[in-house]
């Protein structure tokens, strides 16, 4: 029957992490989400605290934890454990991550010719993590006819010193492009089509050889080669192994515009881990309301054709994201609301929504808006009193962090998701409040 011990709303990193952790403890878990987004839009790494001042993620966590109201103030000590906990789940699905909290932050080149600070990346991007040796070259290898990756433009940009913030960088950046067999598409050639071709062992062999020859044709030796993130979906590990074996330079993928293949691989691995743990996911569920009896949520009601779909639940994790994900809604009258339970939103008043400088390094006042919780992720009122016994909030909906600017969104999602689930499922069975026991 449509009932669950734990319903998780949202299928991003926070939601799926919470669901896996809850399912692991034996709870019957159902994830309801309106669609795919966060994972499919992201570059697939795990950003923990990539702020410019931080030498490592661990250093970054300490710095962020000291900011007023930052979720790392209560989650920070738990990030390492969460990371080591999720790693084997992902590895079991063939998605390995390199780096940990003590890996020095490295400026990793991007597919628009910029750089971003990273320390924990999927295997396909791992070769970008080590510092550049003296004289080491970077080859940017594109695929002819693929319009989401322009080797010349990327190389031209990456040759500029300021892109690397004046620090460690490759000695040279050289573009090369190669036509791969059978890729003449009827319509726009997209990343998914190429990735699917790479999944086919026969085509892969030919393509890897063609790429290897093109890379070898670039003067110089060794170094690294950046490729668009199209190296397979299901067979990504095999494609990567073949590339490492055949290429004259260490290959790494550059994530592209959405849909992001590294993000899709992460989603697929998380979903598979959840199903293996006995949980379920239903996508396409627009939640209409959440029913509660006093301090306890009792059911989640989703829109359905001609009627609604009700799932009774013992507990709820809200991982619906921030403004972009729809977890927060901006009303015309200048309020930010949380649409599911009407939780109090910590946000600046409407007259402070407009920043003078769009790129102010101090950030935008709205970035930190979200739901305030206690250390167990229970949503709280302005006076700090918790509002619901069986509700937890996880991910970018949490107040106090700037998940993009501070590059801490994945660390917060992973750690809060796991803690939310553990906090809910650790409640002793006798405490699972009978109606009217208050």
């Amino acid at each position: 029957m449509p009932s669950a011990d734990v319903v998780v709303i949202g299928a991003g990193l926070a939601g799926l992490t919470a669901a896996i952790a809850a399912a692991e403890s034996g709870a019957r878990v159902l994830v309801l989400a309106k669609g795919h987004a966060a994972t499919h839009w992201g570059p697939g790494g795990i950003d923990v605290a990539g702020i410019p001042a931080a030498s490592t993620p661990r250093d970054g966590i300490h710095r962020l934890a000291g900011l007023p109201g930052h979720p790392y103030a209560f989650l920070g000590d738990d990030v390492a454990a969460a990371l080591e906990w999720i790693r084997p789940h992902l590895a079991a699905e063939g998605v390995d991550y390199a780096g940990d909290l003590d890996t020095p932050h490295q400026l990793v080149p991007t597919s628009i010719g910029g750089t971003r600070r990273a320390a924990i990346l999927p295997a396909g991007q791992a070769a970008a993590l080590s510092p550049w040796a003296a004289g080491e070259r970077l080859v940017i290898c594109g695929i002819a006819g693929f319009k989401d990756f322009w080797p010349e433009a990327i190389a031209a940009s990456l040759t500029r010193e300021r892109i690397w913030e004046g620090g460690n960088r490759p000695a040279s950046v050289t573009p090369v492009s190669v036509a791969l067999p059978g890729l003449a598409a009827r319509h726009n050639l997209n990343a998914l089509q190429i990735a699917r071709r790479f999944d086919d062992p026969a085509w892969r062999t030919t393509a890897i050889e063609a790429l290897a020859r093109a890379i070898a044709s670039v003067p110089g030796s060794g170094g690294r080669v950046a490729l668009p993130a199209v190296l397979g979906i299901r067979e990504h590990a095999a494609v990567l192994a073949a590339a490492r074996d055949r290429f004259p330079a260490a290959p790494f993928e550059m994530p592209l515009v959405p849909p992001s293949l590294p993000g899709m691989r992460l989603y697929a691995a998380l979903r598979a881990a959840l199903i293996r743990a006995g949980g379920r996911v239903q996508i396409g569920e627009m939640i209409e309301r959440v029913e509660h009896d006093g301090r306890r949520v009792t059911a989640v009601v989703a829109a359905a054709a001609a009627r609604t779909y009700t799932v009774r639940t013992g507990a709820l994790v809200i991982a619906t994201g921030g403004i972009a994900g729809g977890g927060l809604v901006a009303e015309r009258d200048g309020r930010l609301t949380e649409p599911l339970l009407g939780l109090p939103v910590e946000a600046p008043p409407a007259d402070q929504w407009l920043a003078v400088d769009a790129f102010d390094p101090a950030g935008h006042p709205l970035e930190k808006a979200g739901i305030r919780t206690d250390a167990e992720l229970r949503p709280v009122a302005a006076d700090g009193a918790s509002l619901f016994d069986n509700v937890r909030v996880a991910g970018s909906l949490l107040a106090g962090h700037r998940y993009i600017r501070e590059r801490c969104g994945d660390g917060v999602a992973l750690t809060s998701g796991r803690r939310a689930a553990r906090s809910l499922t650790a409640v002793p069975a006798g405490h699972a409040a009978e109606p009217g026991s208050e």
């Binding site: 029957m1 669609g35 598409a185 319509h187 054709a305 001609a306 779909y309």
Partner: protein, 446 residues
């Protein structure tokens, strides 16, 4: 009313305006089963919300001399199978699949439909004629040379799955049965339901109807089978909206009389029930009160049985079925937004090891996979599912939608049944055990 309010109202009303919400993130492309296997279809975003800017409102795009098909900016929309996955995963709520269906209809409007597409839409006519001459029609459909000719002339693929026509229609069988029983008083809406059998149960699979009627009876509901026509979905899928609307109104006129009295309308075909629940209003733009009343009264049979169970009213005297049962959830079921009720019901049957195959689409998509040019696409879409079912070693599989069942059965050779047929089997296993326990001399009525 302000312009902003007008736009808000329009966007709630019209599928097309949901294109305004599109972020161009292309998440829809990642789940499109058709784009997964062929580049004939560029993907849901390109032909849907992206092309929609040229189709806004009710106006037609500017006709450019010398460029054919200017009615729609992208003719590849015809390769959309209508599975609806794009709509399900869109984080912005864009009705991509619905948009594609409407633009296909617009592309075909004012032109005479291809004989094949028209014919595939005429499930009633095909069914009537097929049943009338069933020995001949079944022979013809199993005859290779005839199927080859059909492929060349009409464009229906020679290997496309076709079910066998029944000896008579469910409607005529039912009328005879009712006649034999004499006039009976129709019980009230708490003791009877209306059965929307759809074309499959009427012309091809009476055993599904029989299973539904028996299961409903066991659970305290008499069945009412009013006259009805095809729900219209095959016409909608083939872009023939005018005729689809005629069918819809015929059905609504009959069904609304029951729905207004409080009767629920139960269907065994997830695609028919979804059409009545959602597409009459959303796709065919029928926005009168009748459409809403009927939609609200319509239930998929597994959804209905699960609801009975929720209320503690389902007869759960299921006997043991010791078997592996691969289950495929049809695309149309996902569009209902009711989870997988069949899987929840299977969990009530002792010994039954039902496994969700977790595959996007079997490839048939109603009549899509029957067409000559689309058959290979459909088979490629379903290939991983067929492989999983074959690898399971199971002797039968289950699926709620008829065309999917035919496709799976044809492709895998594994007998594929409606979930309620499995449930009926479980009830009968329960009866057998019950009879054994009671023994021959047990007093009646205990």
């Amino acid at each position: 009313m302000t312009i902003a309010e007008l736009i808000m109202e329009a966007s709630e009303e019209f599928v097309g305006y949901s294109a305004d919400e599109c972020l161009k993130c292309n998440v829809c492309l990642t789940v499109c089963p058709v784009a997964r296997v062929t580049d004939l279809f560029p993907g849901p975003k390109y032909v849907g919300p992206q092309a929609q800017r040229f189709r806004t409102g009710r106006a037609q795009p500017v006709q450019v001399p010398g460029i054919p098909f200017a009615l729609s900016p992208d003719v590849t929309v015809d390769y959309c199978s209508g599975c609806g996955w794009c709509t399900s995963v869109c984080p912005a709520g864009v009705k991509v699949a619905e948009m594609n269906s409407q633009s296909r209809a617009r592309m075909k409007a004012g032109k005479r439909p291809k004989l094949r597409d028209w014919g595939l839409g005429q499930t009633d006519l095909v069914g009537q004629v097929g049943v009338l001459f069933s020995p001949i029609s079944n022979w013809a459909l199993a005859n290779r040379p005839i199927r080859a000719i059909m492929e060349t002339t009409v464009g229906i693929h020679r290997a496309a799955p076709f079910p066998k026509f029944g000896r008579r229609t469910l409607q005529s069988t039912w009328k005879r049965r009712q006649k034999r029983r004499g006039t009976t008083v129709i019980p009230g809406p708490d003791k009877a339901v209306v059965y929307f059998h759809g074309c499959s149960a009427n012309y091809y699979e009476q055993h599904v109807a029989d299973a539904a009627i028996e299961i409903l009876k066991r659970n305290g509901f008499e069945t009412i089978i009013p006259p009805q026509v095809c729900c219209g979905l095959p016409l909608i899928s083939n872009g023939i909206y005018t005729e689809a609307r005629q069918r819809a109104h015929k059905n609504l006129d009959v069904l609304v009389r029951y729905a207004r009295q409080g009767y629920r309308i139960i269907g065994t075909s997830t695609s028919c029930t979804h059409t009545i629940k959602a597409e009459y209003r959303e796709m065919l733009d029928i926005h009168d009160d009748d459409a809403t009343v009927v939609a609200n009264a319509t239930w998929d049979i597994c959804e209905f049985l699960l609801d009975l169970h929720e209320q503690g009213k389902l007869d759960t005297a299921f006997g043991r079925l010791d078997e592996d049962l691969p289950y495929h959830a049809p695309c149309q079921l996902r569009s209902h937004g009711i989870g997988l009720p069949a899987m929840e019901l299977f969990a009530l049957v002792p010994g039954l090891r039902a496994a969700d195959m977790d595959h996007d689409c079997c490839g048939i998509a109603g009549t899509y996979g029957m067409k000559k040019e689309k058959y290979p696409i459909g088979m490629a879409v379903g290939a991983p599912l067929f492989e999983k079912i074959r690898a399971s070693g199971a002797t039968e599989a289950a699926c709620d939608s008829e065309t999917c069942r035919w496709q799976i059965e044809k492709a895998t050779g594994t007998r594929t049944r409606h979930p309620i047929e499995i449930l009926l089997q479980a009830y009968r296993a329960g009866d057998a055990v019950g009879a054994e326990k009671r023994g021959p001399l047990a007093p009646a009525g205990t």
